[in-house]
């Protein structure tokens, strides 16, 4: 028996970054908004408090903040001819759960994509010719430009209190910042946090090789900061517990630290937690959705919440799954390449390294991810790919902070993993290691996609989403190139030992690699090549907007969240300015 509720102006599904932004912006426009969240509420003063929050076992090993696989998961296989099996506990990637979502436990690397990332197909054609990319590489231009998005990047910077140093201010290049970045209208809201010693060593070595190192763009306040929504953030304590953990100091930006404090005061907003949205109710003839079905996990009751406007802002997998389950949009068919829902799944291609410096005292538990130094000389459009045999690239970095004792130890290759010698070596080296990463792009491939699993079901009896994904030849060639450049920098740093860690040929869901999943509900210029238009409005349902990295046509060589927030603000602005006055398709194509 489904209980039908009173209609509201808007429903937001998933109260992570994008959901909180839309809820804030739509209530500011005078709409009544209901936020649906499958996980618990997360209130920093209670849930992220000292001393319990600094618990490596609970948060980093037992994954306290991650979503519950027993309720809902995905199945996985490397190739279309294999049997997909469920991911029974998260490993390679770690989607979050609860208010704030995955944005609670991120490492807060806050990037903008490059101007040419938004016109990828066009720029590769201009530089390398019409047939330069393989036919299997299903990349396309974004339907908006960097310049159009820049004001919203700027606003998101000011919501997050981002710390960093500009390298391109209104077209003027500034040494010490990222000279490759697109023009920024303003400097970062806050100065960079203190650099880690490993970061400074990396920066010096990179400079000696002629590269252009700069401080990490870090989505945390280096000093106390009052943000665009009037919320005050604390200063980063450099505690070393960012990764997989939430911030006790209210310094790391997340929806709960930067938006929810304002939204909780808003009388037009109602938050419903531990509710599982199962389906959008779709009126195919009218090309709109009329509401959302959800099950309250606290009572088992199913509700229908009618709404004039629906924002789907869950994780990549849930967004795609929801459209498939609701019959909205043409599902991607792998054999023919037709259809769009589930198409162009991409998974950030990160590969790392570690090195040991016996003469340095590196206090490995001290610092924040923002203390890193990086170079962007080998990101996608920033270098010539002629003759290299691949496209794309990424940034290189020496990681800062986050070497807690269970997960943060590195020993010279060949050292035993246990016993007396292991113990001696562990003590010898704990203070002397630096870890590195390459954040590689992924240019979509026709064989990497999502559809329904034919066997396994979620807790509501719906078919699970099935992921078919493997690393491509282009990914591996790109990554080998980045690692060769990184190795050059590491050698210039003068370690006693180092180890490069290329990704294995086949992707595995077991070891953690990255939570940067994209695609499935991609944006584009028309309904044949995409699910949503440039305003993230669904072509087939004009009052449905899909937020998040599921809308990226392919993945540039950067962490996705900076662009995710900017796009949410861009979409919200269009809804406020135009859609509410005249509901209907915002793009005719």
């Amino acid at each position: 028996m489904t209980v039908k509720l009173k209609e509201v102006d808007a429903v937001v599904i998933g109260m992570g970054w994008a959901g909180a932004i839309l809820a804030r912006e739509l209530t500011l426009a005078g709409l009544t908004v209901v936020g649906l969240e499958r996980g618990p509420d997360r209130r920093p003063a209670e849930d992220f408090a000292l001393p319990s929050i600094r618990d490596e076992l609970r948060y980093q090993q037992r994954l306290e903040l991650m979503s519950d696989n027993s309720i809902d998961t995905i199945t996985f296989r490397n190739r279309p001819d294999q049997l997909a099996l469920p991911i029974r506990r998260w490993g390679a990637f770690l989607p979050g759960e609860g208010v704030g979502g995955t944005g609670n436990h991120w490492n807060a690397m806050h990037w903008r994509f490059l101007p040419d990332d938004f016109r990828l197909r066009t720029s590769l054609t201009e530089r390398y010719g019409v047939n330069s990319t393989p036919a299997t590489m299903t990349i396309q231009d974004w339907p908006l430009t960097y310049d159009e998005l820049e004001p919203y990047y700027d606003r998101f910077d000011k919501i997050c209190g981002v710390s960093g140093k500009a390298g391109n201010l209104k077209g003027r290049k500034i040494d010490g910042g990222n000279v490759f970045e697109g023009a920024r209208s303003n400097e970062y809201p806050n100065r960079p946090v203190a650099a880690s010693e490993g970061g400074l060593m990396f920066g010096a070595a990179a400079s000696s090789l002629g590269y252009h190192p700069f401080p990490a763009p870090f989505s945390a306040a280096s000093v106390a900061y009052k943000n665009l929504y009037g919320v005050t953030m604390g200063a980063c304590e450099a505690c070393g517990f960012c990764d997989r953990t939430a911030c006790e100091a209210n310094a790391k930006a997340s929806a709960v630290t930067t938006i929810m404090p304002a939204l909780r005061q808003e009388s037009k907003f109602e938050l419903r937690t531990r509710v599982f949205a199962s389906k959008l109710i779709y009126d195919r003839a009218a090309r709109r959705v009329t509401g959302v079905l959800y099950t309250d996990l606290k009572t088992g009751t199913e509700y229908e919440q009618p709404a004039n406007l629906v924002v789907l802002s869950a994780f990549v997998f849930t967004n795609t799954h929801m459209l498939l389950h609701s019959g909205i949009g043409q599902p991607y068919e792998h054999p023919t390449g037709k259809g769009v829902v589930g198409k162009n799944y991409c998974y950030q291609f990160e590969a790392g390294a570690a090195a040991l410096f016996p003469d340095k005292e590196l206090n490995p538990y001290m610092g924040s991810p923002g203390g890193a130094r990086m170079i962007d000389d080998f990101n996608g459009p920033n270098f010539d790919h002629t003759g290299l045999g691949f496209f794309g690239g990424g940034y290189l970095t020496a990681i800062s902070g986050a070497s807690p004792p269970i997960g943060g130890r590195f020993l010279p290759p060949g050292t035993p993993a246990w016993g007396s010698q292991w113990k001696r070596e562990t003590v010898n080296w704990y203070y002397h290691s630096v870890r590195f990463n390459t954040q590689g792009s992924v240019y979509a491939h026709r064989d990497n996609y999502m559809d329904f699993d034919p066997v396994y079901k979620d807790a509501l009896g719906r078919p699970l989403l099935r992921l078919t994904y493997n690393a491509t030849d282009n990914d591996h060639a790109m990554s080998r190139y980045l690692l060769s450049k990184l190795e050059g920098i590491i050698k210039a740093m003068g370690p006693s030992h180092y180890e490069m860690r290329p990704r294995p040929k086949n992707f595995s869901v077991v070891p953690y690699q990255s939570t940067h999943n994209t695609g499935g509900t991609i944006m584009g210029s028309n309904s044949r090549n995409s699910v949503v238009n440039r305003y993230l409005q669904v072509w087939d349902a004009h009052n449905l907007f899909v937020m998040g990295a599921s809308t990226y046509p392919q993945q540039p060589g950067y962490n996705p969240t900076g662009t995710l927030g900017a796009l949410a603000l861009w979409s919200a602005d269009k809804i406020r300015k135009d859609y509410l006055k005249n509901p209907g398709p915002l793009v005719h194509a």
């Binding site: 600094r54 027993s70 246990w418």
Partner: protein, 243 residues
């Protein structure tokens, strides 16, 4: 066989008593650190009995003996730290396997079950508690078959040889992927050694003292430049110290 099992019961009683008496010499993990000024500080025992004396939540005595032997092989006592058992690792494993995590919380457990490919990850229906129960029994069966006695009754050199043969996969334990089982044994042992003492392992913050990991205070914004290329030294503090 009857004689053997009687002997074994006696042995296990002895092992249990020995570990309890060792525990009496350690600082109970519930002692507030403000009162415990470093290694060797001993508090009166009467109001604060050590964890081992209170019994086991889920482990059988055979499992206690097994995990103790593994912990002491992987983390032998030396000048750097007490043995794995004296650091409380069997207590840690007992509590972890009795926890929601050990019972398979947040784990997708619907069938059908297939072996799958390594890339597809763990595909068994077993919870961590069940997985370790199966693994310990199978390893002891194999040890009895190959060496004539259970793993915990082997000498130090034999234990190391067995663990190495599991680590490289050459131990042909029936119905068990010995390499996979070894990796999970190593992981849970190291978690017990290095996690906050709250969970029963890392007693007296032995591993944190060994590494020079200061634990919780962790407000370093003003210390990064001050301690640049200089080792920061502080008495480690744990969750209990602030609770």
């Amino acid at each position: 066989m009857p004689d053997d099992s009687i002997a074994r019961r006696d042995f296990l009683k002895g092992a249990s008593a020995a570990s309890a008496s060792v525990a009496l010499l350690s600082v109970p993990q519930t002692t507030p650190a403000k009162a415990a000024d470093g290694p060797g500080a001993v508090k009166p025992q009467d109001s604060n009995p050590p964890a081992q004396a209170q019994g086991w939540l889920t482990l059988t005595m055979d499992e206690v003996a097994f995990f103790s032997a593994v912990a002491d092989s992987m983390i032998p006592a030396d000048e750097l730290s007490p043995s794995g058992t004296d650091c409380g690792i069997p207590v840690f494993i007992d509590r972890q396997l009795a926890s929601a995590w050990g019972a398979g919380a947040k784990m997708y457990r619907s069938g059908p079950f297939h072996q799958g490919l390594p890339e597809q990850g763990y595909q068994l229906s077993l919870t961590p508690r069940e997985f370790f129960a199966v693994g310990v029994r199978a390893t002891n069966d194999w040890s009895r078959h190959s060496y004539g006695k259970e793993f915990d009754r082997l000498g130090p050199a034999e234990r190391i040889a067995v663990l190495k043969s599991m680590e490289d996969g050459s131990a042909e334990i029936v119905n068990i992927d010995s390499k996979g089982f070894f990796q999970r044994l190593l992981a849970i042992t190291m978690e017990g050694f290095f996690s906050d003492p709250l969970y029963g392992g890392n007693r007296n913050k032995a591993s944190w003292r060994m590494l020079g990991f200061p634990g919780l205070p962790a407000t370093y914004a003003d210390k990064i430049d001050q301690y640049r290329n200089k080792r920061y030294v502080a008495e480690p503090q744990s969750i209990a110290d602030f609770s």
